[in-house]
């Protein structure tokens, strides 16, 4: 049995080293779900990263003196535990940059682990580039020097969303519903607080949380929403919960706007189809469908040629890749991540694809300040639609440098 154990471990290490290819490349660990319930989102994200790295950096000669970006995928199965194991494997491979986005729980685990690791191992520190986890705490109470966030966080998005609601005189009653966990609660409390400031006359006719991922039939919730007489509803739901609550509400007679955080792509646009037109709204950064710039249109066409089932649903991924490349060039090194982080801090970046306004990586809390939009679900022609469904998202309202004036509570220790 001992020899078996030894043999097995030998296999393990053979397996680990087999993926470690020695090269001059700048390796970026992609730690997100590639199997399990959220694999579709994770795989699509990986494709976007690979494509962005190839098109935007490697095609142009890479960084420094010709070093290429190489995405190394790690399947975390949406589990914090697996993420930490894979993080150790990534560190072994000499990786200095970690990108992750699906799930604030995993992001909390990673930012905490990387912070501890960098403190305990000053010789091989690494940076965490968070492209999608939007819990405000990550750049507030829990912020640290090694973490950078490229998506607008939940409060920023809610700021834009409530601005839009406040401008709409027809909305007098709002129903808030979300999944029962930290993010759902954060969305609900931000909505209540900001609506009270901006439109005290709006009545919150419902504010509730439902268990995450275990409601089979959303009809009873839809009934409540319809009976409450709400003019608009707000939900932070994602995945099948997003689909469930949105479809149930619309099919049971709710006709007002449904403001969502994650009501597009990853199968959701296709599943809503015609039902969502006129109701489904999304708050997000990134591009219109189709984007206005020809470069961006070309970029999407090329992406769809390569990944016909994929979506450019997270435009911020190109920002992560381009800003990291700029920072490495500016720092003159890809291995001293403190220098790269210092170059990234406060960086102003003009996006050639999605936005005309410069993006700023705020130095105080490492939160990217960018343009955020409200988008509506409308028919869109291929290849600029989502899920090849003939539907996509188009701008209805935009806020430049969204959330710049929101309060922040980050106290960062710098090395």
């Amino acid at each position: 049995m001992k020899s078996l154990k030894k043999f097995a471990l030998g296999m393990a290490v053979a397996g680990l080293s087999a993926t470690a290819v020695a090269a001059e490349n700048v390796k970026i660990a992609f730690i997100d779900p590639l199997s399990g319930a959220f694999a579709a989102t994770g795989t699509n994200g990986l494709h976007q990263f690979r494509f962005a790295a190839d098109e935007l950096v490697n095609e142009n000669g890479g960084v420094l003196d010709g070093q290429m970006f190489e995405m190394v995928a790690f399947d975390n199965k949406t589990s914090p535990k697996e993420s930490l194991t894979q993080l150790q494997v990534a560190i072994d491979q000499g990786i200095r940059y970690v990108v992750q986005g699906n799930g604030s729980g995993v992001a909390h685990a990673l930012t905490d682990a990387i912070n501890k690791h960098n403190r305990r191992n000053p010789d091989d520190q690494l940076l965490f580039l968070n492209y999608s986890a939007v819990d405000p705490a990550l750049t507030n109470e829990e912020c640290n020097f090694w973490h950078f966030r490229f998506d607008a966080h939940a409060d920023i998005k809610m700021d834009v969303l409530t601005d839009t609601i406040a401008e709409n005189e027809d909305i007098e009653k709002v129903y808030i519903i979300g999944q029962d966990y930290s993010f759902g609660k954060a969305v609900a409390s931000a909505a209540v607080r900001m609506l009270a400031e901006k439109r005290p006359d709006i009545e919150i006719v419902g504010n509730e949380l439902h268990p995450i991922g275990s409601v089979q039939d959303f009809t009873p919730y839809a009934r409540k929403i319809v009976s409450s007489g709400a003019d608009a509803m707000i939900t932070g739901n994602w995945g099948s919960d997003m689909l469930g609550i949105g479809k149930a509400a619309i099919e049971n007679g709710f006709s007002g706007p449904v403001y969502t955080y994650y009501g597009a792509a990853d199968g959701i646009t296709a599943a809503f189809g015609e039902t969502g037109v006129g109701s489904l709204k999304l708050v997000a950064e990134g591009g219109n469908n189709p984007p206005s710039k020809p470069e961006a249109q070309e970029y999407i066409r090329a992406f769809k040629d390569k990944y016909p089932d994929g979506n450019i649903s997270q435009a911020r991924i190109t920002n992560v890749i381009q800003m990291l490349a700029m920072a490495i060039d500016e720092a003159g090194t890809a291995t001293d991540v403190v220098k790269v982080a210092e170059a990234l801090e406060g960086m102003e970046f003009t996006d050639s694809l999605w936005s005309d306004n410069p993006l700023v990586m705020r130095a105080d809390d490492h939160q990217l300040i960018q343009e955020v939009h409200i988008l509506g679900h409308v028919p869109v022609e291929a290849p600029f639609d989502f899920d090849n469904s003939g539907y996509g998202m188009q701008y209805e309202n935009s806020v430049v440098a969204a959330g710049e004036d929101l309060p922040m509570s980050c106290e960062m220790d710098r090395p």
Partner: protein, 318 residues
């Protein structure tokens, strides 16, 4: 009041759907003495097969063909899998069905991917049957009700009035005697397993369009189905019916009424802390009924099992 009536109807639909799964599961249990963990996986397979068929031929062909395919698969799994494991005892049998559930989920992901597939109700039923005070009731749900009741009546008729039904009932209690009388008991077992899984498949076909067709659909429903037959009493068809409807209503009403723990605590004479978010009891004070709705069935199950291990209508202990 009108909302109450609508909730009764919605809960009725959920309950009947649960019953379509429970009836097959409880039959299989009473026959083979094994809880089939993969039962909800056959429900999922039904939905996916029907989706695949509906892409070519439309909804109605899928309604008939998909459950048959699922039933045949079920029968084959009984014949070549379960029967083999049966000789090792009940625990390996239970573990086999558990593994089967995992495997079926992986296969579904393998072939159809991890996203929800766009499986929708047929156009012919895509209208509002009636509305109660602004709450619309889709025609498709009326169709679901009729399908489930129809299935129950057919099942009841077969089990109590036909020769084959008598044989099944006899084989449940005295398998050796029935065997000695010249009946092919293994064949009966295989048939019952096939029919049970076909019923689960049928439930999947008609539930897929409303509940969503995605790889997690078996997992979310599977545990609840277990709860139903355990609460109703293992092996009891009537128990399964009562428990299914009970749980359907519990879930619907728990989601519909925002009863708050806060009100209860104040009524009991407690004082709400001023700064609720700094109180260690914040979670208790902010608890609402919809939050705990989905765990109520499990609570019910644990209580029933502790107080009456044979279930509400069960005759024997397990």
């Amino acid at each position: 009041m009108s909302l109450f009536i609508v909730n009764i109807l919605d809960g009725f639909v959920t309950g009947l759907l649960l019953f379509m799964l429970c009836s097959g599961l409880t039959l299989i249990f009473s026959m083979m003495g094994v809880l089939n963990f993969a039962h909800a996986s056959f429900y999922m397979l039904g939905a996916y097969f029907a989706y695949q068929i509906s892409m070519f031929t439309g909804f109605w062909v899928g309604l008939i063909v998909a459950p048959i395919i699922v039933g045949v698969m079920g029968a084959l799994i009984e014949r070549y899998g379960l029967r083999r494991v049966h000789q090792y005892g009940h625990v390996p049998e239970l573990i086999f069905t558990f593994g089967l559930a995992l495997l079926i989920e992986e296969f579904v992901q393998f072939f159809w991917g991890r996203q929800q597939v766009p499986y929708n109700p047929p156009a012919a039923l895509d209208f509002t049957a009636f509305a109660i005070a602004g709450n619309t009731f889709p025609a498709y749900k009326v169709f679901m009700i009729f399908m489930a009741i129809g299935l129950f009546l057919v099942l009841l008729y077969i089990l109590t009035k036909t020769r084959i039904g008598m044989t099944i009932q006899a084989a449940l209690s005295y398998p050796e005697t029935v065997q000695n009388l010249g009946h092919n008991v293994p064949m009966v077992f295989m048939g019952v397993f096939g029919v049970g899984t076909a019923m689960a498949g049928l439930a999947g076909v008609i539930a897929g369009p409303v509940m969503g067709t995605f790889p997690g659909m078996a997992f979310t429903l599977g545990a609840i189905v277990f709860v139903c037959i355990v609460v109703g009493g293992l092996g009891s068809l009537w128990g399964a019916l009562v428990a299914s409807l009970l749980i359907g209503w519990i879930q619907t009403f728990a989601a519909s009424y925002n009863l708050r723990m806060e009100d209860l605590l104040i009524w009991l004479g407690f004082e709400k802390p001023m700064l609720i978010w700094e109180s260690p009891w914040q979670d208790l004070w902010t608890l609402t009924l919809p939050q705990v709705g989905p765990i109520l069935p499990y609570l019910l199950m644990v209580i029933v099992l502790v107080l009456r291990p044979q279930g509400l209508f069960g005759k024997r202990e397990t």
